[in-house]
Amino acid sequence: MEKVRTLLAGLALTLVAATAQAATEIVFYHYQTGAPGKTLRTILDDFQKSNPDVVVKDIYKHSEQITGEVQAALAARRPVDVTSVIGKNIVFFAGATPAVALNDPKNGDAKWLDAYLPNFLDAGRIDGKVYAIPHSYGTPQLYYNKDIFRKAGLDADKAPRTWDDVIAAATQIKQKTGMAGVAHLHASMGDYGTMVMVTNAGATYLNKAGTKAEFDSPQGVAVLQMWQDMAKSGIMPVANDQQWGAAFQAGQMGMYITSSAALRGFVASAQGKFDLGVAQYPLWKEQPRRVNNSGAAIMLHAPEGPRREASLKLLRYLSRQDVSNHWSRDTGYMPLIRNPQADPAMAKYIAEFPLVRPSIAQMAETLPTATWPAEGTLEAQVHIKNMLDELWAAKRPASAIVPETVRKVNEALSVNLKK
């Protein structure tokens, strides 16, 4: 009897070992930490439970460093299967790394991609091939302090709808309370902030190929003149994103336009301190709203074979409505799947947490973030950052600064046209 037990135990161990050996390990690079990091791991664990033949090893890298880290891992031939890539780097990554087209017939039926809104997939679509699926997307929205609105004699239940409303409210806040009225994020090198502002005004920030800036159009100059006027009039104190964010969370600024990804943090900061309001991104002269997404998409780098198959299984899993909505609910990122309210869990969440409504309403109004080529990008972005510094210093009007900047940006990017 003892021998039989030993034999059975041995067999069981062998079976477990064999199963473990048979499982395919895939490596997922991401920049989620804290609560979103835990949510991601929970989702990956759930995936593993339903797919015991796959083990997902997740590797965290800071959002500023993830692109370089993934590049270094690829250069060192370390396994890289699934990666979070900042939106503006997708085109570069598609060209410079062995990225896999997700709708390539070799990778099976691509119908699962239809779950995403087509405009969300556009950021990862190059020449008809889809290289990236949306994942940690944000959209710019207006956060406002209802208590400051009341103090300034404004209707706290009526959020500003247009840029004219925003400027009027900010001016009133400044005059009546002496507090800062409004700020608009600039983001790294002023790139994303400028992109959103000019795109919403109807201008083209960069052409599709990312080789030519076109925001010196009348709409572009007009909206950037408004940004200068905000600084010049003192309704927007000249500072950076961290300082504006800190001031808004401390209840010292009336309105702040920044990513929906900040919602969770702002709700926590406002708790017991002030009444937080959230509204959609302001309209420009009653034109349709056009805002670019921020954040990261997911790309596939796994080589052909079991790792690619396992990675595709994971991507298909992430595209499921219930999984994607779970990710959105727990992290505050934008919902990504068509008609998210059709999911009862999501409908309940929206009913209980109405502050998320503006970002859902903006899903259909989202445009893909502009992507940059590799060469000349730093020089171009330096010119854009310097443009913002000069605009806010208000020594020359936007009509003089913006065309000069666009010329310099295009000069820097012209190296890509010579190829």
Binding site: Q65, T67, G68, Q71, A72, L74, A75, R77, F92, A96, T97, P98, A180, S188, M189, P237, V238, A239, N240, Q242, Q243, W244, A246, A247, A250, Q252, M253, W372, A374, E375, T377, L378, E379, Q381, V382, H383, K385, N386, D389, E390, W392, A393, K408, A412
Partner: protein, 315 residues
């Protein structure tokens, strides 16, 4: 006491010759064996990366092992020199280095002498001065960003209480670089002070007593005794401060200004980081690194050539 028999037996008489093979092992192989661990580490982690960086500075490559490196000659160097960032980065690098000499090399000397004169009572000051060195520079940069916030930051509030107005130092191209410099000085001054205190502790107290007995004033003591005997420490602090001056400010630049306003705070080190890791231009990043290496090597050699003769190594 007589020398031991065994030692006398092993030491060859003066003028005696050693067999060539044995001599070769003794005088040529042995030192290298002792040095081997360090040589291997230096070769693997310093010299090979340096040589590879020089090679990368002449190619165009995006770090994709499946894509070939394209030889572009000096194009990356020309690209760097023509970059709109280079002039500002180079000018600011010189400011960071030159301003570091009075702030980080000379200012700690009187502080160190003060702490040294306190003897054991100075330990509290030493600890207080050294404390900022232990803080993460990221934390320091974030805290200063809060304190300098033009919307209700601590400096703004204090200035308001005093009836004044605090300038927006991080958005003023003329003030931002000095703000970064002062923050980095606050961070490293304690460490350099400690180095000087260690230098002072090695000075024979008898010299001090002798000068005191001769009626020397404090100034004469400093001028004719402490300063000359501190010159080896000063040279070390000077060289290390100059080499690290542009690295030390990397974190506050990245967190507080991103090199702005109007490229007012960037430097060569930050420019290289931006090329290599923000826009993945490996060739430009490598060329910038080689330029920094050559620049710092030239400065160090110049300093050693001009200053070393003034250093008092003998006590």
């Amino acid at each position: 006491m007589k020398p031991s028999v065994s030692l006398a037996a092993t030491v060859p008489p003066l003028g005696a010759t050693t067999p060539p093979a044995r001599r070769g092992r003794q005088w040529h192989l042995a030192p290298f064996l002792y040095l081997a661990p360090m040589i291997v580490l230096l070769a693997a982690f310093t010299y090979w990366p340096l040589l590879h960086t020089i090679y990368l500075s002449f190619v165009q490559w995006n770090m994709n092992p499946d894509q070939p490196m394209r030889w572009v000659g000096t194009a990356n160097y020309r690209g760097i020199f023509n970059s709109p960032l280079f002039d500002a980065a180079f000018r600011n690098t010189l400011i960071y280095i030159i301003a570091s000499i009075p702030l980080k090399v000379l200012l700690p000397i009187p502080i160190a002498i003060f702490v040294w004169t306190l003897g054991t009572r100075g330990q509290v000051y030493r600890a207080l001065l050294f404390l900022p060195t232990l803080f993460s520079f990221t934390v320091v940069a974030v805290v200063f960003l809060w304190m300098l916030n033009p919307i209700g930051g601590h400096f703004v509030q204090i200035a308001r209480l005093l009836g004044g107005q605090w300038p927006n130092v991080l958005t003023d191209p003329d003030l931002a670089i000095w703000t970064i410099l002062l923050i980095s000085t606050w961070k490293v001054i304690g460490f350099n002070t400690l180095l000087y205190v260690a230098g002072l502790a090695s000075i024979n107290r008898d010299y001090v007593e002798a000068m005191r007995l001769d009626g020397a004033s404090d100034w004469r003591l400093v001028r004719h005794l402490l300063w000359p005997l501190l010159t080896p420490t000063t040279l070390f602090v000077l060289i290390s401060t100059v080499i690290f001056a542009i690295q030390q400010v990397f974190t506050p630049i990245d967190i507080m200004t991103e090199g702005g306003p109007q490229n007012g705070t960037t430097n060569l080190f930050y420019m290289v980081y931006q090329y290599a890791f923000r826009t993945f231009n490996v060739g430009f990043g490598a060329a910038g690194t080689v330029i920094i290496f050559a620049f710092l090597l030239a400065i160090t050699l110049l300093k050693m050539r001009t200053l070393d003769r003034h250093v008092q190594y003998q006590q």
